[in-house]
Symmetry: C2
Subunit: 318 residues, 2 copies
């Protein structure tokens, strides 16, 4: 198979790229390196089956041209800057909604009918059912990020009905592991490297979060593609457990053998639109036979280990 992967230099998509290449597939990777890193493609670039397109998804001609001959699209590029949505509301709209439309239209131009899309548990807003299943009560959006991902999901679903596309939509919890470069584990690790004597935490530290290890995430994506065959295939991806931000602070401090003074920003949410509790009911994918190999704690430890072994990642990120 020949896959077109948007955002191929990003955290999740670069791991997916590596996996698909390992399995002998061809990959055309597309990235503008606004947040993706060339270093994440070091393995991929060694493969004769990998083609890298350094371009922006707003360049519709280049997207369309680059997609030629591909069998399926993984649309994983996104503005993942969840936290600062209200600072620049156009960013989510342009990078998550419009770009998805451009990708769909490019697919239509080449008669490519199959797409996998990286969505998010944030689209459930302040969920009223927890753990939250895929068919939860129709949610109200609480963040521009969630709203933009929901808009993209809706477009993709409408293309399935209107143009006979087939879609795999994955609603992720936060993902951790190799090449993880943003989020609170990253922030905490970085703070403690600079000054192990104190740690600032947004919110009250009691925000409950669910995490999934990146390799488990890639396994789940591939599992769903293999074992589900509807027109629109929507899956929550996460673990069956959750932790508190304070738990992960404990694990990180244990690993680093530090005992910082903890300063909390206070309040239940870390920022406007931050959901104090994202916990997804993943029984739909579990029923297909997939299950995560790593616990949340193991995933956090794996992440710290990765950051420890790859100090350059921290220098690349502010």
């Amino acid at each position: 198979m020949k896959y077109f992967i948007t955002g191929c230099a990003g955290f999740i998509a670069s791991n997916l790229t590596d996996r698909l290449l390992q399995e002998g597939h061809q990959v055309v990777g597309y990235d503008n390196f606004s947040t993706g890193l060339q270093e994440f493609l070091e393995n991929a670039k060694k493969s004769p089956n990998f083609t890298l397109i350094n371009g922006d998804l707003h360049d519709r001609d280049l997207v369309t041209q680059s997609m030629q001959g591909c069998d399926m699209v993984f649309h994983f590029a996104a503005n993942a800057d969840v936290r600062f949505g209200t600072d620049h509301p156009n960013k989510d709209l342009e990078q998550n909604v419009l770009v998805t439309f451009y990708v769909l239209e490019a697919m239509r131009a080449h008669n490519i009918k199959q797409i996998a899309f990286a969505s998010t548990g944030s689209i459930y807003g302040e969920a009223t059912v927890i753990p939250t299943p895929e068919n939860a009560p129709f949610p109200v959006q609480t963040s521009l990020y969630g709203a933009s991902k929901l808009a993209a999901e809706g477009l993709i679903q409408a293309y399935c009905e209107g143009f006979n596309f087939k879609a795999y939509i994955f609603r992720f919890v936060s993902i951790l592991g190799e090449r993880y470069t943003h989020g609170h584990v990253f922030d905490f690790y970085k703070q403690l490297l600079v000054d192990p004597s104190k740690l600032f935490i947004l919110g009250n530290g009691k925000q409950r979060k669910s995490y999934l290890y990146i390799q488990d995430c890639i396994d789940a994506i591939q599992w769903a593609l293999k074992h589900s065959d509807d027109k629109v295939n929507i899956f929550n991806l996460g673990t069956d457990e959750y932790c508190q931000v304070n738990d992960s602070i404990g694990w990180i401090c244990d690993y680093l053998q530090v005992k910082p003074e903890l300063n909390y920003g206070g309040g239940e949410s870390g920022w406007i639109g931050d959901n104090p509790f994202i916990f997804l009911d993943c029984s739909k994918i579990r029923k297909l036979g997939w299950k995560p190999k790593l616990s949340i704690r193991d995933g956090v430890m794996q992440t710290i280990k990765y950051l420890h072994e790859n100090p350059w990642v921290l220098e690349n990120r502010t």
Copy 2:
């Protein structure tokens, strides 16, 4: 109050404009007359409280400038060409999603915090719960129109959380009555005027549809504004009954005293993405004390009467 109404020359918004002016409010109406009709504003234009801006919502400067001094926005402009979404997918995206973003940003520029939005029962896709309540299971989109309205809803909701807006989102069934200018009652009436001996019907005529009379719709909107005070107020608007397309054919034929030969296109849906059954659970607004005055049959009769008395409407529409 001074209201800003987008799509003020359209079916629903022009009736709303008249109502608000009758009540002594000021209205700034904005329309590009791509589908709206100057004739629908004949009453409004006689009022010193009405200001008409002939402009496109893509002209962000003009939108922002025109909105100055307004207290609340009714965003009712839309690409309502539900049927031909797949012919030009960009239209729904541009006219329903982007334009909503421009309206929200213009509001933000003027610190206007209150918005009412014309959404649609189409966002429930192929609903699994019928009648469909506002908190139905998270639906899958089946039309570009529905997807674009859902995207707009999501944006509005995110602005409520992120920028402290307050929103009234109305998910309509099909609306009938004075100034109704598209949909099957209009099509049938027009066909029968040309040739009363035969009638072509998309689908099998058994599509069940729910209709609401325009004046009942305006009543409901005003009722919700008066009696609901949440951050995000979402209401289905419809009647507690439904009819089959074949029922309305009978009523129209009775009114016109014709007995045409009926030719059916066949199939359960009229077109791709046409939902064979939109029937909304309106108990949320009913519990606030509103109820429709006209039955579906009365609404259809009122519509035929209007079309009969205003033959120019038919000439204006292809």
